[in-house]
Amino acid sequence: MSHIDEGQLHALLDDALEPGAADTVRQHAAVCAECAVRLEQERGIRARAIAILDLARPRNASIPPFETVLQRAAQPSPERFRLPGPTRLAWAATVILALGIGWLGRDFAPRGDASDALESTQLAEPVTDASAPAPVVPPPPPPPLEAAQEMRAATGAVGGAAAPDTNEESLRRDRAPAAASAATDQMFKTIVQNAQANSLAVARRSQLGRDSALQLQELVVTGQQQTARGAAQQQGSRGGGRGGTGAVAAAPPPQASLPAPVPWEFMDLAQAEQRIGRTVLVIPGLAVDSVGLIQMQGAYRVRLIQRIPGDGVLEIEQSPAPPRQERELMREEAQPLTSKADPAGFFTVTVPRQDVLLTGRARLQADSIRALLNRAR
């Protein structure tokens, strides 16, 4: 017999050999000195390994009663909730069907190009409303950039709200011969309804911005009207004009939908300062877009629009400061205004400066507006 391999030696030591095989190994070890030595060596290794494993034996805890295991087994399983097999299959089929319908119905969804086309056809409406009464006299100060952008977005979105109706009819005509089944029709209706709902939601969101833009536009337009009217009166009485220069056109009456015009006069900065007899506070470094002037209760109010590079415009209204006591009250009341933007996203901050109250309005954080106003000189 050849020498015993270590596997057999360990099996012999573990008493894991069949009786016949164990006898054969023992007989060989009795006559083979080399295997006898190896058997003792492996016995030592085995004993050492057992001792090492015993070093990391858990403390000998008593066995918990079997009843605790039974109780735990009787408790509802914390496993995840699983639907029965047929229900799972039904759900899977439903999901696959829904995905399939969605994929097939993707052609029905309104596309961006369609809304763009509608936007271009309906964009003119508010612009004509605002610009119709504009006289040909002084070049009108351009409306703030945000206002123009908002008007564009608003008219586009409002126009887009009507798009699905048009699309519905045309798509119906195109699809009618091919897709006559009730399921397809239902799917079509759902898609169109969703598109309408989405467009209306966008339009509603934009409406606030549109209102704000129209207010600003209206401010500019009424100022132009007033300038023209003032120039015409002056020309009639004194044969010369001040403030608004150039030819005067008969200004059309303001539209009924607009509120009563505010008699703002627009002029350049030097003229405004000359008129009010004091310096108009301006934030240095920001281009002055327009200067408006209005006389109320014997005092002038100045409204400046200064352009903030990259951030739109800052509207600054300067009015004579009320007496100190009132000013303190006003300052306190003004604080809450700084923490919340109006629906158009503009923050308003009022800062008292010597005898003037500066009220700034911009799409900037209140702190930024306050810092800008404090730099005015």
Partner: protein, 167 residues
């Protein structure tokens, strides 16, 4: 033939705890997993109850090792019993922890299959049961055990030598 799980539980509980302890190295968690093992086995009527118990225990230990967060929620019963047991002094605890760490590291030096066979044998399984559990041939169990034991002894002596030098 129906399995008398109460008998199997009494006979195997400590072996399963020992087996699990060398997997998770947390005595309380090993006991909790041992109970969970029997809870899961109770719902079955296997031909070989011992084989099923260690299969379930090994799976639980594997899941446990995969878990990033070790749950420290213990059974109230085990807590009460733990409180009644001998609490080692800090010195004893340090020495015990050092010895246990050496064993843990020595075991980690073994190949996965060698370690599994060694721990199953130490838990009391026969060569046939270990073979059925691991998928190895019965004739290969002795050789695997011989290799695992030698590697464990060598790795442990090496670690202990370093530990003595450090002290």
């Amino acid at each position: 033939m129906s399995v008398d799980w109460a008998d199997v539980y009494r006979e195997m509980y400590q072996d399963v705890v020992r087996f699990l302890y060398r997997k998770v190295w947390d005595a309380d968690r090993a006991q909790e997993l041992a109970q969970e093992t029997f809870v899961r086995c109770l719902k079955q009527q296997p031909d070989h109850a011992r084989a099923l118990v260690f299969t379930v225990a090994a799976n639980l230990a594997r899941d446990e090792s995969r878990s990033v967060l070790r749950r420290k929620k213990h059974l109230t019963l085990i807590k009460v019993e733990s409180a009644q047991q001998h609490v080692p002094t800090p010195a004893e605890h340090t020495e015990q922890a050092g010895m246990q760490e050496a064993v843990e590291r020595a075991l980690s030096e073994l190949g996965e299959r060698d370690r599994e066979v060694l721990l199953l044998w130490d838990a009391g399984l026969s060569y046939q049961e270990i073979a059925a559990q691991t998928g190895l041939a019965v004739g290969a169990i002795g050789t695997t055990l011989a290799r695992a034991r030698r590697k464990l002894v060598e790795a442990h002596e090496q670690l202990e030598g370093r530990r003595n030098v450090a002290h």
